[in-house]
């Protein structure tokens, strides 16, 4: 693959010597739109934040460089950077508003469209910027003015831009940044629970993307010698930017490039042959049809499909090659991903200071809540809850359905804000902290309804958690592999999470939380849906995790598991704590029997 890419690059470098000037023009457009698509890909593909207003960044970048050149005589080579910086500022504003105000999907699309249109209309009405007629750049042919008499210079410039954006995307993809963006795209809440500051990473993606797109604006303006608000800021350009990575494969490194190689010649030819006949919108109709077709038949885009076909062919020739995983990244491969998994079970290193032997009475408990309350409309989900969990303790939290157990977990892990009350983790108040901060402080949780990142493999899922303590992707992968082994998913590490059975998903959920190396683990009904044998092995596993120094708070409906695991049990009913004590005490507590266990359980409860 690497050799093929290098060979392709060599061909592209040599190509202008043999091409006609019209063919060079087509290639310039292929590279340029590929570059814009790659820039968009950082936020739209990797981070999954669909922007249909990227033309705004082209416009701001282009107008800035052009104005600096016309008014101040500044060379566009520097104006380009100024324009890109201003685009990045606009990107940061849009990103801040969109992400802070929680605009997702449809709402985020509208926000980006609206900003681009506001820019377009404003520029059309500002006479100093040329108004609706736009700006014209006098042709001097001076390379200092980013102008060239030979079209091949633009060819190499566009190719350089494309390579720059691709190198940046490649670097992002390999690093924690890229892994986190993919996790955010798959399930933002689950990513937050694993210590990912989704807002910060989305902002960074937006800034990188808008900066690169802004660079493209200068190229566009100085290649065309003219700037019109409708061309540079208009929705048609935004669609041009979006459609290539979508068709080629959003969130993949080569998708935008492949998309541009497919679409750009198509668009140019249809513009040339159909546009002249007065058939104005022909290529846009083709875009629409392609978009519909891709959504219906190829939702991942062309590149992932192509890669799968190529990988399959590779493997038929290499009998020893066992990997069937098509979604692994280069980073995985370079860190020895293809080697058979080793069976080393390493103890998890736990953050110093948060764990240790059971707490002496004088130091603060690991987790403590006072008067914790939360109401939903007319329902008091959690009422005035006082909870204490000592270091090294395994505490069970039980109660009938609707007792407020999961709400309590959401309050503890920062997914919900309490109406009143205090939560202290190791003596420190965590009320009002976002989930990712709480996760970093050493409190990890699982979700009752498991939330794996479906398109990532088991190992990739767990790596997201491991990155919280091991920022280097390769280190995190090593850690993740250890955890995957430990929960017994070693044989399944390369399977996409969407292909797991429910018991396996439960284990994956546990592994991911464990990979954040927590001091306190919140387990929300990890036994639900498992058969007795599976429950028995999971009990052993949780015991082993506990023995390695992790304190555990578990919500569980399976009484055998709760009784076997918990050192103490707290019982909730209608949001209130109705009992607290050892399993034996709880099993015989009249209030608990009345509220929850039922008469027949009294006989079978451990004495």
């Amino acid at each position: 693959m690497r050799w093929a890419l290098l060979a392709a690059l060599a061909v592209l470098l040599a190509l202008p010597t043999v091409l006609s000037s019209y063919a060079v023009t087509i290639f310039i457009l292929i590279f340029f739109y590929g570059f814009l698509g790659q820039a968009w890909n950082v936020v739209g593909g990797y981070a999954g934040q669909l922007s249909v207003g990227h033309a705004a960044f082209v416009g701001v970048g282009g107008y800035t460089a052009a104005m600096l050149s016309i008014e101040l005589g500044l060379t566009p080579w520097l104006g380009m950077l100024a324009g890109a910086a201003l685009s990045a500022v606009l990107g940061a504003v849009i990103g801040y508003l969109g992400f802070r105000f929680g605009l997702r999907g449809f709402y985020f699309v509208l926000l980006t469209v609206a900003f681009a249109e506001v820019c377009r209309i404003a520029v059309s009405n500002i006479d100093a910027l040329g108004g609706a007629l736009g700006l014209y750049i006098t042709f001097t042919g001076n390379p200092r003015q980013l102008q060239f008499r030979d079209g091949r210079a633009y060819y190499y410039l566009a190719l350089a831009l494309l390579l720059l954006a691709t190198a940046i995307a490649w670097a992002i993809e390999r690093r924690r940044f890229g892994v986190y963006l993919a996790a955010i795209r798959e399930d933002e809440g689950a990513a937050e629970a694993l210590g990912v500051n989704a807002f910060a990473y989305k902002m960074r993606a937006m800034v990188v993307s808008s900066f690169l797109t802004g660079l493209g604006g200068t190229f566009y303006a100085f290649y065309l010698f003219s700037l019109q608000p409708n061309t540079l800021f208009g929705i048609p350009l935004s669609v041009e930017i979006v459609i290539r990575p979508i068709i080629g494969g959003a969130g993949t490194l080569l998708g935008p490039i492949l998309g541009s190689f497919i679409l750009t010649p198509l668009a140019e030819l249809s513009r040339l042959y159909l546009g002249q006949g007065g058939l104005y919108g022909a290529h846009l109709i083709a875009y629409g049809v392609l978009l519909i077709g891709v959504v219906l038949f190829l939702p991942e885009g062309a590149y992932p499909r192509l890669r799968r076909v190529l990988t399959r062919r590779d493997q038929s020739g290499l009998a020893a090659h066992t990997s069937t995983d098509a979604t692994s990244t280069d980073a995985d491969r370079s860190s020895g991903r293809a080697e058979p998994a080793r069976a080393d079970i390493r103890p998890l290193s736990i953050r110093a200071g948060l764990t240790g032997p059971p707490t002496p009475a004088t130091t603060p408990p690991l987790l403590e809540t006072r008067g914790l309350s939360r109401r939903f409309g007319g329902v008091q989900a959690v009422a005035d809850l006082d909870l204490v969990l000592a270091r090294g303790e395994m505490l069970g939290l039980i109660g009938p359905n609707g007792a407020g157990k999961t709400t309590a977990f959401n309050l503890l892990s920062g997914f919900l804000a309490p109406d009143a009350g205090e939560i202290r983790l190791d003596g420190r108040s965590i009320v009002g902290m976002p989930p990712h901060t709480i996760s970093r402080l050493g409190l990890a949780r699982t979700f009752q309804i498991v939330r794996p990142f479906p398109r990532m493999t088991v190992l990739e899922n767990v790596r997201v958690g491991a990155l919280a303590r091991h920022p280097r992707a390769a280190d995190a992968l090593e850690r993740a592999r250890g955890v995957v082994e430990r929960v017994g998913l070693g044989a399944r590490e390369r399977v996409p999470a969407s292909g797991l059975t429910l018991p396996e998903r439960k284990r994956l959920e546990l592994a991911r939380a464990l990979a954040t190396e927590p001091a306190l683990l919140l387990l929300d009904e990890v036994m639900a849906g498992l058969n007795p044998t599976e429950i028995e092995t999971l009990i052993q596993l949780i015991r082993a995790i506990h023995a390695s120094g992790v304190s555990i708070l578990l919500i569980e409906h399976n009484m055998r598991a709760v009784m076997a695991l918990s050192q103490r049990i707290v019982v909730l009913s209608f949001g209130e704590k109705i009992a607290e004590g050892t399993p034996a005490h709880i099993a015989h507590h009249p209030k608990v029997i009345e509220a929850y266990l039922g008469d027949e359980y009294v006989d079978t409860a451990p004495a």
Partner: protein
């Protein structure tokens, strides 16, 4: 921040329009309310589609433009006045909506939102550019016998065609709500909107409900298009600004709320036409996009309290 942007735009305001003229304001109010009926009808269609399927129809404005061109064809080729032809336009758009739903939307009802958005963008591109190919880029307006008639109410005048458009649009909206609340099929549609799974469990043919709902949504906007075809000059790209207006209205009214869409339509129309009193015409569009941004950020629970998901 919004304030500083507003200040930056001040020099753009027309120099004459800044003095407040009460007659102009009254005129703006009246034409705003009258045009609002059409906005309401358009938004009711969008909110119905969203409420039932949770799919945002990005092609809504483009469907409306098709309603306008159909009214134009009827007027120029068959001599049918748009105020009579709107029923045919609605019927044609019903069929178009039904086909789009059955052929495309039905396959992605359960897909991630991004996929739905991209599909509907594709539909919007096709509808807009087929119109461009067939009818060309020049602005068009349908002539109606009512176009020049005006009534005077004291110092302000009322366009008779706006008045008729308003009356028909309101009547259609009321008829639609009677259909949804009084008939068996209407109740089934509301049940499917409330709880698709529940509706499936009790044996509702949800696919049929979806198809009908999408058809009705498209028919609303087809009728709305015909009703304004003699008031508003239009060209294929007009679809986008109509979509944006629909989104404005529906988000203000609360996504999925019929009553919210109705009242929201009147509010947005009045706001736009008062905006037009103070702003240069070219800035009216700017106003509507800034309104969209503000609405998105301070997205209310909707006028009638139903929180958007």
């Amino acid at each position: 921040m919004e304030l500083s942007r507003a200040r930056a735009l001040l020099p753009l305001l027309s120099s004459t329009g800044c003095s407040v003229d009460l007659t102009l304001v009254g005129q703006g109010l009246i034409s705003g309310v009258l045009f609002g009926g059409v906005y309401s009808l358009m938004a009711v269609g969008l909110t119905l589609i969203f409420g039932v399927m949770r799919v945002v129809n990005f092609a809504h404005g483009d469907m409306m433009v098709w309603g306008m061109y159909l009214a134009y064809l009827l007027a120029t080729h068959a001599g049918v006045d748009p105020y009579a032809g709107f029923a045919l336009c609605a019927a044609a758009l019903f069929v178009l909506g039904l086909l789009i739903q059955r052929g495309l939307v039905d396959r992605i009802v359960d897909a991630p939102h991004e996929m739905q958005i991209l599909l509907m963008l594709g539909v919007a591109l096709v509808l807009e550019n087929v119109a461009l190919m067939v009818f060309g880029p020049e602005p068009t307006r349908v002539t109606s016998s009512l176009a020049t008639a005006t009534l005077w109410l004291g110092p302000v005048f009322v366009d008779v065609n706006r008045l008729v458009a308003f009356a028909v649009a309101v009547a259609l909206t009321l008829a639609l709500s009677a259909f949804l609340f009084r008939t068996e099929l209407g109740r089934t549609i509301r049940a499917a909107a409330d709880n698709t799974y529940g509706a499936l469990v009790i044996g509702t043919d949800v696919r049929r409900v979806y198809a009908v709902a999408f058809g009705i949504g498209a028919a609303c906007v087809g009728a709305a298009g015909a009703l304004v075809s003699s008031i508003l000059p239009f060209q294929p790209p007009t679809g986008l600004s109509l979509s944006v207006t629909s989104f404005n209205v529906v988000i203000i009214g609360g996504m999925g709320s019929l009553a919210g869409a109705f009242v929201g339509g009147l509010l947005v129309s009045v706001a736009e036409s008062l905006g037009a009193v103070f702003l240069k015409p070219s800035l009216k569009e700017l106003f509507s996009f800034i309104l969209l941004i503000v609405i998105l950020l301070f997205r209310p629970a909707g006028l009638f309290g139903k929180r958007a998901s």
